[in-house]
């Protein structure tokens, strides 16, 4: 078994190509099926500040109430976690768990791993070259979590829910609404870079000897 580092296969149609020269900001598409083969990050050094900003917004979005409802002296408000808890109060455990996973747990894990990677990349920019421990596991978790982070869908749901309530009661928007909007934008920026490109950053440089088994 031997690695062929200058070749690349299309993930969607299995076409074989020679790895193109890295052009920053370029997206390379497969000639055969049109799928994206490679994406070269334009701005690697923005990943760390974007990740930190995302984490801050994540904290705000989850600690502040989404909205407060007031009808005739009665009032109620809720955060994301509060909503999940009120589901469990009525026995909808499976539903609550699913919402918690896709809007809280998975994005949080992704952000923490991203922080771990980007701190290392930042150190590497400052010429501290050393392999990143657990890079394999980190990359595998990032890959499998990618489809299941639904923050952006949740943000749209918040807007729909607000419009639904606005007609019938006094509704005061909480800071979490804006935090969710900001978080969606930040996350889409920070997660849009190619996961494969992390391997190009030579966190663990390709050594020909390492591939002979």
């Amino acid at each position: 078994m031997q690695a062929l580092p200058n070749l690349i296969l299309c993930e969607e149609c299995d076409s074989l190509y020679q790895k193109p020269d890295a052009l920053k900001g370029h997206i390379v598409h497969c000639d055969c099926c049109g799928a994206e083969i490679e994406r070269y990050a334009q701005k690697d050094h923005y990943i760390l500040p974007l990740t930190i900003a995302s984490l801050l917004m994540f904290v705000v979005a989850n600690s502040m109430p989404i909205a407060q409802l007031r009808i005739q002296g009665l009032q109620s408000q809720s955060t994301l976690i509060g909503s999940v808890l009120s589901l469990t109060a009525h026995g909808d455990w499976l539903f609550a768990l699913m919402v918690l996973a896709t809007t809280f747990v998975f994005p949080l894990i992704q952000l923490c791993l991203l922080l771990y990677i980007s701190v290392h990349m930042h150190r590497q920019d400052n010429h501290v070259a050393e392999p990143l421990p657990y890079l394999n596991n980190v990359m595998r978790i990032m890959h499998s979590l990618k489809p299941w982070n639904m923050i952006e869908v949740f943000m749209l749901s918040v807007i729909v829910a607000i419009i639904k309530l606005a007609g019938s009661a006094t509704l005061i928007l909480g800071p979490a609404v804006w935090a969710f909007v900001a978080l969606t934008i930040l996350l889409s920026l920070v997660l849009s870079f190619n996961q494969h490109s992390l391997w190009h950053l030579e966190l663990e440089p390709l050594k020909p000897d390492a591939f002979k088994q």
Partner: protein
């Protein structure tokens, strides 16, 4: 060891702004050259077998996703079964002083049409009704064509697959709306929103179709094309 592989030249690849060539090129494929790429780190391996570990990132290597046809069918049938209860059972129950009100997916759409919020009605109709239905039909269609080794409109089929891969998650919209409303509207006896039994079925449809899309291997579509082209020569 020396390896010389007939690969496409880099200029044959297109960057994002240029047009794709319409004819299907007879590019060498990984399977025909005996190469497997790692789906996590993208490294191309020669002489690797199914189930071997990638030497770089230690994930399992597979020429094609294991058992993809059976898995996709199983998940698809499961989501078809959940589709009816998802649309017929109430997803949200509103208890208020007026009484108990059940609302289904289409009830939510009709509510927004009645209150004149056309844009929202269209968003919810698309996300909750059209997208799941479109996904189920499209995936069934792609799967049957892949099984029949059809070479009909390969490029369009590849595009369809990418579309259903991208839009699937947006069906969770209504599920989250129910969750948010159940959190905010808790005014004891005056008005209270509780999740209905339909919401779990609906979420199951979304998650099962997402899993089905992930377990389908679009490379199989192209394998048939390459196979038939080889046969003609």
């Amino acid at each position: 060891m020396q390896y010389s592989l007939p690969t496409n030249q880099p200029d044959a690849m297109t960057t994002n702004n240029s047009q794709h060539k319409t004819n299907i090129s007879k590019a060498p494929t990984g399977i025909s050259m005996g190469l497997i790429d790692c789906h996590i780190c993208g490294t191309v391996w020669q002489g690797a077998k199914d189930g071997d570990q990638c030497g770089r990132c230690e994930s399992r290597l597979y020429q094609r996703k294991p058992n993809h046809i059976n898995r996709t069918w199983a998940l698809l049938i499961a989501s078809f079964l959940m589709y009816l209860p998802a649309n017929l059972l109430p997803i949200m129950v509103t208890k208020s002083i007026i009484g108990i009100q059940n609302s289904t997916i289409m009830g939510g759409v009709l509510y927004f049409i009645a209150s004149g919020e056309w844009a929202l009605a269209i968003i919810i109709f698309a996300a909750s009704f059209l997208v799941p239905l479109f996904k189920l039909i499209t995936l069934t269609f792609l799967l049957i064509l892949a099984q029949k080794r059809s070479t009909w409109r390969l490029k369009e089929r590849a595009k369809l697959y990418r579309v259903i891969e991208a839009v699937g998650r947006w069906s969770m919209l209504d599920v989250f709306v129910v969750c948010i409303l159940a959190g905010i509207v808790q005014l004891s006896n005056f008005s209270q929103v509780i999740a209905g039994p339909g919401v779990l079925a609906f979420a199951a449809v979304v998650i099962l179709t997402m899993l089905a899309t992930l377990s389908f291997d679009p490379r199989v579509t192209w394998d048939n094309a390459n196979h038939q082209q080889d046969g003609k020569q």
